[in-house]
């Protein structure tokens, strides 16, 4: 799995260009998240794809060739955090509810909606953690699930900021981005 972070112009059609590019390169996107940044003219994407290092290089370099993409960087091998968020609606009758609550607690997930026959569980964390919770909830009956896809950020002074952004001084000078 390769993780690429991109800053793009926040305007219509950009997502289409990114998607069109992955299709052209025959790279299957596993997850793609887009959201605004502190600068409303710029959006940030996290793109996870099943491809090898060479495919990831092509994707990263081709992404950055798009006029609307300001920066694209493969952060797969960097020290980074990845987060995914899921809402899972699980079947929960009176009998198995206590057992269910215990499991949810173990996973540090939260119950965000309670209905007579079901619960909605909110969980965030790494993909593995969410997959793990899903595995244990499955026997109770998973009725519905929504996942956001991954967002990722490099740790510490390894800053990935959009070009032209005001310089924010880190405590010690950041290692220069390649």
């Amino acid at each position: 799995m390769q993780t690429i972070v991109a800053y793009v112009e926040n305007k219509p059609g950009v997502l289409n260009r990114v998607a069109s590019l992955t299709r052209r390169l025959a790279i299957n996107i596993d997850s793609l998240t887009v959201g605004p940044t502190e600068n409303e003219a710029i959006a940030r994407m996290t793109l996870c794809a099943h491809t090898d290092e060479r495919g990831a290089h092509r994707l990263e370099a081709s992404l950055e060739k798009l006029v609307d993409v300001l920066l694209a960087e493969n952060i797969t091998d960097r020290s980074m955090l990845e987060r995914d968020l899921a809402l899972i609606k699980v079947s929960a009758g009176q009998q198995n509810r206590p057992h269910l609550m215990e499991l949810i607690k173990v996973f540090r997930a939260r119950v965000v909606d309670v209905a007579p026959e079901s619960l909605i569980v909110e969980v965030s964390g790494t993909v593995d953690k969410i997959d793990g919770l899903l595995e244990v909830l499955r026997p109770f009956g998973v009725l519905e699930m929504a996942r956001t896809g991954r967002i990722a950020m490099t740790r510490g002074n390894d800053l990935l900021r959009p070009p032209g952004a005001a310089d924010v001084a880190p405590v010690t000078p950041a290692p220069s981005a390649t």
């Binding site: 289409n16 290089h57 370099a61 081709s62």
Partner: protein, 570 residues
Amino acid sequence: MKMTGAEILCETLTRLGVRHIFGYPGGAILPVYDALGKSKLHHILVRHEQGATHMADGYARATGGIGVAMATSGPGATNMVTGIATAMLDSSPVVCITGQVSSKVLGSDAFQEVDITGITMPITKYNVVVSRAEDIARTLREAFIIAQSGRPGPVLVDFTKDAQQASAEFDWDACAPKLPVKRIRNNHKQDEFDRAVELLNTAKRPVILAGRGIMLSGAMRKFEEFVRTSNIPVAMTLLGIGCFPASDPMNLGMMGMHGEAWVNTAIQEADLLIAVGMRFDDRVTGDLRTYARNARKIHIEVDRAEINKNVQVDAALVGDAGETLSRLLPHIHDGDHSPWLAHIKELKGDSAVRDIQSLPDSGHLYAAHVINDLWKVTRGEAIVVTDVGQHQMWEAQYYHHDRPRSLITSGGLGTMGFALPAAIGAKFARPDAEVWAVVGDGGFQMTSCELATIVQEKINIKIAIINNGYLGMVRQWQEFFYDKRYVATPLVAPDFVSLANAFGIRGERITSRAEVVSTIESARHTEQPVLLDFRVEQEDSVYPMVAAGAALHDMIRRPNSPLVESATEP
């Protein structure tokens, strides 16, 4: 000053230095045509919008500047698609202007509405819809920058009809381009650079692979200096032809599927390849697993996405060809590669005997002879625009180009029908130059409607049809790989001489070698367009040939025949 969007469009093009527009009118672009009539821009009415894009492409390739094509919405725009893709694959800076239905009805399947920006997304460097008159000037200025910067490519700008009709304030300074601020990459990695220098200075059997990027960068002088200093022989890609003189002893000739045998052999035996502004296309490398196995590779390339795409390289120098060569030059020792050069010369000697050009006149008219004679008669000074197929390869082999931008050909996309319109474009770009369209009987029939454009615009280009009655290159593949089952390749054509006459163009038919030189001479000395129909050997093939997917050294050579055995020394 208040102006209509259409007037702003024409004024902006004029200020951007545009003089010619190749186009075809229609409902959704009519306001622009009305404004065109009042401007100083010269509009060339084409016969099909594909021709407009090829003309703009030929125009761009002949000058190194931008070519502009224009069409209406819907079918006008979709007819441009092949031309746009052709420009994209060969990194040609073409700006396409299309009309679009009014923004009020966008998305309603209005008459002649098509989502042309959606359609052309993967075949343009950039495209955009403009639906407000006040955005026209800025967007066009941005389009021109994008088309020409970095690795050039086509840009399409789609103008809704209401944007053309509305009025807006026109202020040149206020509509300065506002392109996204991109990250400036530090591509000059010192360790890669040092490795490249070391490889260059220690190689025993190096070969330079020269591509079109050298011309796009305008780096011909720097490149020559690099060759002189390093004393490394040069192999050309099809699109690189002209960036270094063919007559130079250091120029080996073309590489690849129909490259010269000695060039491909030299590449396979090399211990270092220096690729400059080329992209290791499959037609150049053959089977990648056996490609130049003993060679280290240095890749000088402006487009980072090309690095390690097809061939894994040992040192990648990302950047403009001219700038990168300038940085390398002070570090290059004078190379002495005389044993290697002598070895290549030996390889060449063997191939030359098999060369069709060495054959005595046997009463047959060979395309290679026609093209070689064309080279001799024009003293290699013409701009030759080819179509795609056998004649294109013969042109590359037998017309020796000493000047940049003197061969214009569709390499990457291999677009049949390219030659005639691209030659028209080239003639507008270089009215002083002698322009020849060299085209097969198949490709000619795809865009022959543009003969009318030649007549209407009163331009003087010469057309040489290499007429063998077949879709020759496909027939050749059928001969080699499909047991001579000539399915759908025998080709009925009209009498091209009569066809030319019907358009009001002089035409001549040539059937023997004795007539070739005199007919070409006479055509050259006519201040009118002339079409020459060369009836060449029907089942001749282009040699050598590396079959698709075969190793580069695994070449099909011209079979030995009594003719070849009696060949004279070149």
